[in-house]
Symmetry: C2
């Protein structure tokens, strides 16, 4: 087989950035170089959009030193996209791939990207075009099925847990009530990570609210009063996606109660990220609802925002290594002849944290997401359990430990 | 002189926490232990409030390993206070100090703390009570006079600059308009630090707005359109304290224009920190003001909040060392016989960054704060100059460098 006859490969990145999505990209690049079985490796700029626009970067030209720097850089170095291709869009993808003699397509992203990979693979099959399509998991939300956890989560969890450690010391130095809003529209994995740095019961967060548990504004005020009465302060972790028992987002509930407006995106969904509204509403609601000896307490809210997914120089080393390995493993599976799949992390039994990487079916990863199990949340629905701490702690690669004088 | 006859010392912390205020505390503790000339070293819990309440911690009992951990922990380990003592309050302070045979009082804080130190010293003088009062500078705002820069600023600058590096890569991956609100009610030092990580002119922040320059909402929209037209995205750093030419805070200007409410603190000041309101108002104002081909652009705002002053495990090593040294130097000055003063950092001439520590007069540090000089801000009032970068860069101890593929 002449060099020119070697099939080509395309890699793309999709969805919200993470601190390690470029580790997976570099994992793919390095593995492709190692195999020597692939002609050109093209990077699709801004995911599937780059494919249909034929907007590619020649990744073979990137030197090792730059690859190492890219791997350590947060956010998608190829550019990302929010496009969720339908069948017609996927037809165009297959057309371009065939025209470029691309036989390997690696797509790094969340459940939507897995679904795109699934559709592309099906269409190629139907057209009788041999294509190997691999999805490489990535999301700070940690809500993909099959895999034990998602590359990107460990670093985001490390950032959030660390932020709570420092903010808790801040709250202990200047006592009051502090609300921190964490990303997670549907699943509470990242919000739950706020609790990973607690050294004892006096440490914050003292309350943790996730979308999996219905949020009651009344119970919230009682929870805060109880904690404040005991500790003289209260640090609170809140998922942006908390909703009441009727599935109405709390941001909408509070907007109604407080008589405020909420921003909506072009799909009519309430805008949860990139706005401080939920935190501000919760703080205002709390100030209005705290009466008697709790009146006039100092209440503040921070919304951690995009820093959770993009802060540089603070990634979890465990997460970095796993994300890199997932990229390489996708290449390995594809070159070994597997037609399609998603790379999943499997946690091995034993006291020491160890994993291996396995192939999952695209249909088992696509579309539907994974909530936190009940066993990771306490009965009152306002904190996490030890089982969750045991699950998530190794993924952070370690957390800062506070020194205290009282 | 018998051991019992050795005079005692008190150390306290005041104002908003920083990532290195405990370095200064540990600097004081270590220096006191080295001298052997002081009886007991008492830590005042929650600053001056701890003195008048006689709420002290015995710092002699803290072991070396815990001291090292405390030094690396953000926020005030002794607890902080927002109390700004008047003369009567300071009288009580001197009374308690005299009753406890305290001859050395070290107060770590900003300009208000320097003023407290000044008043306490004057009252002790009047009463004929020999007291050595030293202020140790601390503020992420970097707005103290005399000193070249303030302990606490370098670490906050490192955090903010790094956050902008990652967020800029995020904004390049999913292009749009991104506003980030930075702490700084009166001075723009920390907001300006957002620009420290730029590798070239395409990197954000593309616009930097500080309180020192009057902010025009109209010019803001034109600035954003110009940048977006050129780069296809725009990342913006905004000080929480920006105000218009008539000194009206922009948050109040926009609240009026958008018909929204703003929170006020117990003193009637508009609440700038611990709320996402300014960012949300700016984003809404921009969305409404962007017309024609700029209509429907993706606009998001994050407010970095308390993370800027309390994030752990990411302090500037330069800042850490200087903060520790400032604590030790205060003890050295006091023990050498100086009655009072503030420790100031003096930058030495030469290509390499080097400093020494000198004594400043309390009255020259107290009350009045220091704005950014004109030479650190560009003429258009929407960015910083190279002179500022040269000034601030060494204080961060180095920043993450992004790898890019396009």
């Amino acid at each position: 087989m002449s060099i020119a006859a070697k099939p080509n490969a395309v890699v793309g990145q999709s969805g919200g950035p993470t601190a390690v999505i470029n580790q997976s990209l570099v994992g793919v690049i390095e593995a492709v170089r190692r195999t020597g079985a692939i002609g050109k490796l093209l990077g699709a700029r801004h995911g599937v959009r780059g494919i249909i626009n034929q907007d590619f970067i020649d990744l073979d030209a990137v030197d090792k030193a730059m690859l190492d720097r890219v791997a350590d850089t947060p956010a998608a170095a190829l550019g990302s996209t929010r496009d969720k291709p339908d069948e017609q869009y996927c037809h165009k993808i297959v057309d371009v791939l065939a025209r470029k003699d691309v036989r390997y397509f690696f797509y790094i992203g969340g459940n939507d990207s897995a679904d795109t990979a699934r559709i592309v693979n099906e269409l190629a099959n139907k057209a009788g075009y041999e294509l190997h399509v691999f999805h490489i998991p990535k999301t700070i939300d940690n809500d993909l099925r099959v895999t034990d956890h998602c590359p990107g989560y460990g670093s985001a969890a490390r950032f959030v847990a660390s932020a709570f450690i420092g903010d808790d010391r801040d709250c202990a130095a200047l006592p009051g009530i502090k609300i921190n809003i964490i990303m997670g529209r549907h699943a509470g994995w990242l919000t739950a990570a706020a609790a990973l740095g607690r050294q004892d019961d006096k440490d914050g967060p003292h309350l943790v609210y996730v979308p999996e548990t219905p949020f009651s504004t009344k119970a919230f005020i009682e929870d805060v009063k109880r904690v404040y009465g005991k500790l003289g302060r209260c640090q609170i972790a809140v998922s942006e996606g908390i909703a009441d028992a009727g599935q109405t987002p709390i941001i909408a509930v509070l907007a109604r109660e407080l008589g405020r407006d909420v921003e909506r995106d072009s799909h009519g969904n309430i805008q949860l990220s990139g706005s401080g509204a939920l935190g501000d509403f919760l703080a205002d609601y709390l100030k209005a609802g705290l009466k008697g000896r709790y009146k006039s307490l100092r209440v503040r809210a921070d919304t951690f925002g995009y820093l959770q997914r993009s802060f540089p120089g603070f990634a979890s080393p465990v997460d970095q290594a796993e994300a890199r390995a997932c990229g390489a493993k996708a290449v390995e599976f594809a070159l070994a002849g597997d037609a399609d799949g998603s790379v999943a992390i499997r946690r091995l039994r034993g006291d020491k944290y160890r994993v291996d990487l396995v192939r999952a079916e695209l249909k088992d990863v696509a579309r539907v997401t994974k909530d936190m199990p009940r066993s990771y949340l306490n009965k009152a629905g306002n904190h996490v359990t030890k089982a969750f701490i045991n699950y998530a702690m190794p993924l952070t690669g370690g957390l800062p430990v506070s020194g205290k004088l009282f």
